[in-house]
């Protein structure tokens, strides 16, 4: 039995019926999954990874797809059964029971109106025929297995009451519930923080080892692949382009696409010894050589003791009963032509910090000086003018563009707002901006949905550039993008920096990216900067315990440097909500190295 693959996909072809005729989702894909092995399927967005996995479960049909060709052989008691021809009853038996599946979005994969317990026990009662009590007992056991604290209490909670990481564990527990022989994980960690991602990956690895389940792991993150895979399948535009053992693929990629993919992956530690950021070398693309970007030492933005709190209202009179301490006594400087990166876990106040500087949320106190002018004291009109110099790029390229407006209008909007240009001049400038961000001018009349994520993010950059700003706050500007696209956008940003002398406040949770782009790095935890200093120093010599833990969690895109579960030690982030009477202590830092400061007072970690 061991010699026989548990599932093998042969010449799979999936088509979707759309208004403009059939669309091919997967053209021709074949690969095997052997018992007890982890097969990683990688490839850029839209390459057909999800469709392949959904086909195996025969779930594509519910999304309007049809399996137009090929076989999906699944091993059942030694005999190979073609799932592509299986009837609904058989599929229902297999789903959840013999093949389990974990989905990408922990936020939406659980039904919001049923308790965790109910959703967990459902499959058990169906497939294993357990009664309610037995199923619950088993569910609690499962929750404990995926290391969810207070499993009994969680059973009665609703999904929204759990954090993202916990939800994803629930999904995993659900998929593992009936001890399936094959587990399909479709980007199970993409939406999660590094720290949580590390935990989930370790968890899956352990479960796989303990139960001997075969895993089909879908991701576009090469670092994750390096951590998890036994074998790798690379997909590109609906086809398999390469397949091989993980070390082989990393060490010796054959296909051009694989090579390009690997080249685009920023690896932590790559920049060791290089004081200044420099663009990545991408394969298969003409690139103008850009030297490392030094920037200047002139202070552009000076933030001192910035505090931003959100009131939590409650009680009969809707008075403020407590505050969310989103940003607490934060000070830093951004130099002209340089990039300061803020890193930290979700919810630590990075975005709020960026928004406070632009006064998109009103800070409570502190000082924000831009070119020597205190921004927090400006009148609304003066602030409106000031925004010309400070722009922002948002995380989600899908959400930050108005779906109802053509692109040229969106790029032209800031110019119109400030009356910078009129008539045909506007369109000329828009066209130049399109050139600037390397988009064809023919895209000007398109709508956002007609663009890929990377292209959209370029539009967002073009929009931010329209006013010739001096500072751009890039809030997770590349987090939602494919690696290759991410690399292009990063390069574009660096190119703009070197050409125009822009300064960036770069907000990200991806340490490898941060290492690549920044001059200075600030690490945030629970609203405070716990460590700040030159990038090289912070990365090579992390002084704060939290920074160290964070570094530890980052997966490295190298199959030879795997991490084990033991290396990780994380505590859940405490709540930033405090009663009105709470008076936080001021932050005090010591300078461990020149320019490298570490918080000495309590950070909550």
């Amino acid at each position: 039995m061991l010699d026989q693959p548990i599932a093998s996909i042969r010449g799979l072809r999936v088509e979707f019926e759309t208004k403009d005729g059939p669309v091919v989702g997967v053209e021709d894909v074949s690969f095997d999954i052997n018992p007890g092995e982890t097969v990683c399927v990688v490839g850029e967005s839209g390459s057909g990874k999800s469709v392949s996995s959904l086909s195996l479960m025969r779930l594509v049909e519910f999304g309007g797809g049809t399996i137009a060709g090929g076989q999906l052989l699944f091993d059942r008691d030694g005999s190979q059964q073609d799932l592509a021809k299986g009837d609904a009853g058989l599929m229902r038996h297999i789903r959840g029971n013999e093949i389990g599946m974990i989905f990408q979005e922990p936020m939406t994969a659980l039904n919001p109106v049923f308790t965790v317990g109910r959703q967990l026990t459902e499959g058990l009662r169906l497939h294993k025929g357990l009664d309610k009590a037995a199923a619950e007992a088993r569910a609690i056991e499962l929750l404990k297995e995926v290391r969810i604290p207070e499993a009994e209490r969680r059973m009665k909670q609703y999904p929204h009451e759990l954090s993202g990481g916990m939800r994803q564990r629930v999904v995993i527990a659900m998929a593992m519930a009936c001890e399936p022989r094959l587990l399909i994980a479709d980007e199970p960690t993409t939406a999660l923080d590094v720290t949580i991602q590390a935990e989930i990956l370790a968890l899956m690895d352990r479960l796989k080892r303990e139960t001997g389940t075969a895993v089909m792991f879908i991701t576009h993150d090469m670092a994750v692949v390096a951590q998890m895979a036994d074998r790798v399948v690379v997909m590109y535009r609906g086809n398999k382009v390469e397949e091989g053992p993980v070390t082989e693929i990393f060490a010796n990629p054959q296909h051009d696409y694989t090579k390009a993919l690997l080249a685009a992956v920023p690896r932590l530690g790559e920049m060791r010894g290089k004081p200044f950021p420099e663009p990545m070398k991408l394969l298969g693309q003409e690139q103008t050589e850009i030297p490392p970007i030094a920037g200047t030492n002139e202070v552009l933005l000076n933030v001192e003791n910035l505090v931003t709190r959100f009131p939590v209202k409650g009680g009969l009179l809707r008075r403020t009963v407590s505050n969310v301490h989103a940003v607490e006594d934060v000070s830093f400087k951004v130099f002209k032509g340089q990039t300061l990166s803020l890193v930290g876990e979700s919810g630590c106040g990075k975005s709020t910090c960026g928004r406070s500087i632009l006064r998109l949320v009103e800070p409570l106190s502190g000082k924000v000086e831009f070119e020597g002018r205190n921004i927090l004291g400006l009148s609304p009109d003066a602030m409106h003018k000031q925004r010309q110099d400070m722009q922002m790029i948002f995380q989600d390229p899908f959400a930050s563009l108005n779906p109802q407006m053509v692109l040229q209008d969106q790029v032209a909007e800031p110019m119109k707002n400030y009356g910078l240009a009129s008539g045909s001049e506007v369109m000329d400038r828009v066209a130049n901006l399109f050139d600037r961000v390397q988009l064809p001018r023919s895209f000007m009349r398109r709508y956002p949905h007609e663009m890929s994520g990377g292209q959209r993010q370029r539009i967002a950059i073009a929009r931010a550039l329209a006013l010739n700003p001096k500072l751009i706050v890039a809030d997770e500007a590349v987090s939602a993008l494919d690696v290759s696209v991410q690399a292009q956008v990063l390069n574009l940003m660096m190119e703009l920096q070197s050409d125009l002398g822009l300064s960036f406040l770069f907000i990200s949770h991806d340490m490898a990216v941060v290492e690549r782009v920044s001059h200075q790095v600030g690490v945030m935890y629970l609203g405070r900067l716990v460590e700040i200093g030159p990038r090289e120093r912070v990365f090579e010599n992390p002084a704060h315990a939290y920074t160290q833990a964070l570094m530890q969690a980052v997966p490295i895109a190298d199959p030879t440097q795997r991490k084990s579960e033991r290396d990780l030690n994380f505590k859940p982030i405490p709540s930033p909500i405090h009663p009105l009477s709470y008076e936080p202590d001021p932050s005090e830092y010591i300078e461990v190295e020149p320019g490298h400061f570490v918080l000495t007072t309590d950070s909550g970690y």
């Binding site: 779930l59 519910f62 959840g96 939406t108 039904n111 109106v113 609703y158 659900m174 409650g314």
Partner: protein, 335 residues
């Protein structure tokens, strides 16, 4: 949730007071005369005396104040007296209808049963029909069933009840003689036979009303189901191996019902408000007919009281809908 409810309840008081003032002023401004139904043979001087006897001579603010006192202070006492057999309200003047010279609330209470029977049943029937239709047409989007459903609900929506009502009377009462065309409000259900009689007289008004409500509700249900059918958790449920029935009728339905339930709750005041035209056509003589009759006779105390009760219902069901939303959707937390 509790504080949310309490806060909204407290806020409702000034809102309702304001609404009652606006209603009062509006009705004062509206032309019309309680004497309009008195025949022309009664001379104007006599009509004038009758008006004075109704209290129309007093200035506006005094009448408003009197009404407030009567409605908020005396009527509750009457209710208490009625329940506990006490006599707080003895001798106090209640809100008196100009048409009947009797306490408005007594008549309202008298009318409620038939309105609730007919309009309420129609509402329930409509819900029972609309939900399956909505669910199925969403599940089979763009199928012939869905197309037909759209068509029928649009027609149902666009046919006014004064037409559909008379149509069913002509067909089922006049031509076929199956059902009575006039609703007997004195009928009491005591046994099976009388229940059948009650059913027969309810069928037609219920049918006409339910058609309209079904048309709207099924659209809602469909839209809400469509929203949810594409959610990720549906895929998760399927991946667990659940059958289609469980996926749709448990997972999707439960989520889709959240907005629909609040829509249903928001529609409930209209049950109490009656269905003016349908009640007229079938002579159900419920609250709707009472209101229209009172407006025609310019019976201001009656109109004020009814519209105000209606306002109270609207405001409270708005609140109930919000609270329901919070209860049904565990993600919503009001504070």
């Amino acid at each position: 949730m509790l504080t949310f409810t309490i806060r909204r309840l407290i806020l409702a008081v000034p809102t309702l007071l304001f609404i009652s003032l606006v209603i009062f002023l509006l009705l004062e401004l509206a032309p019309g005369d309680p004497m309009a139904q008195v025949p022309l043979t009664v001379p104007p001087e006599v009509k004038e005396k009758m008006r004075l006897a109704l209290g129309l001579g007093e200035p506006l603010h005094i009448r408003f104040w009197k009404w407030l006192v009567q409605f908020f202070w005396i009527e509750p006492q009457v209710l208490v007296d009625h329940i506990f057999g006490t006599s707080f309200s003895a001798g106090d003047l209640r809100v008196i209808s100009w048409q009947t010279r009797s306490p408005v609330m007594d008549i309202v209470i008298q009318r409620l049963p038939q309105t609730l029977w007919v309009v309420g049943t129609a509402y329930v029937v409509a819900i029972l029909i609309a939900l399956p239709i909505g669910i199925y047409s969403a599940y089979k989007q763009y199928s012939w069933f869905d197309q037909l459903g759209t068509f029928v609900s649009m027609v149902g929506f666009s046919v006014p009840p004064f037409f559909s009502g008379v149509l069913v009377i002509v067909i089922f009462s006049v031509q076929l003689g199956w059902f009575p065309s006039i609703y007997d409000t004195t009928h009491k259900v005591t046994d099976w036979d009388s229940f059948v009689v009650q059913l027969r007289q309810m069928i037609m008004p219920v049918m006409v009303l339910a058609l309209q409500i079904t048309a709207q509700l099924s659209r809602f249900m469909r839209a809400s189901m469509l929203d949810n059918l594409n959610q990720d958790y549906v895929r998760t449920a399927r991946a667990k191996g659940l059958g289609e029935y469980v996926v749709v009728m448990v997972h999707v339905l439960r989520n889709s019902m959240i907005p629909v339930v609040t829509v249903i709750a928001l529609g409930i005041p209209s049950i109490f408000g009656g269905a003016i035209i349908t009640e007229q056509v079938f002579k159900v003589n419920g609250i709707g007919q009472l209101l229209i009759g009172a407006i025609e006779a310019n019976d201001l105390p009656m109109v004020q009281t009814l519209t105000f009760i209606f306002a109270v219902l609207i405001v409270s069901f708005n609140l109930i809908a919000d609270v329901l939303y919070g209860i049904l959707d565990p993600r919503i937390r009001y504070d």
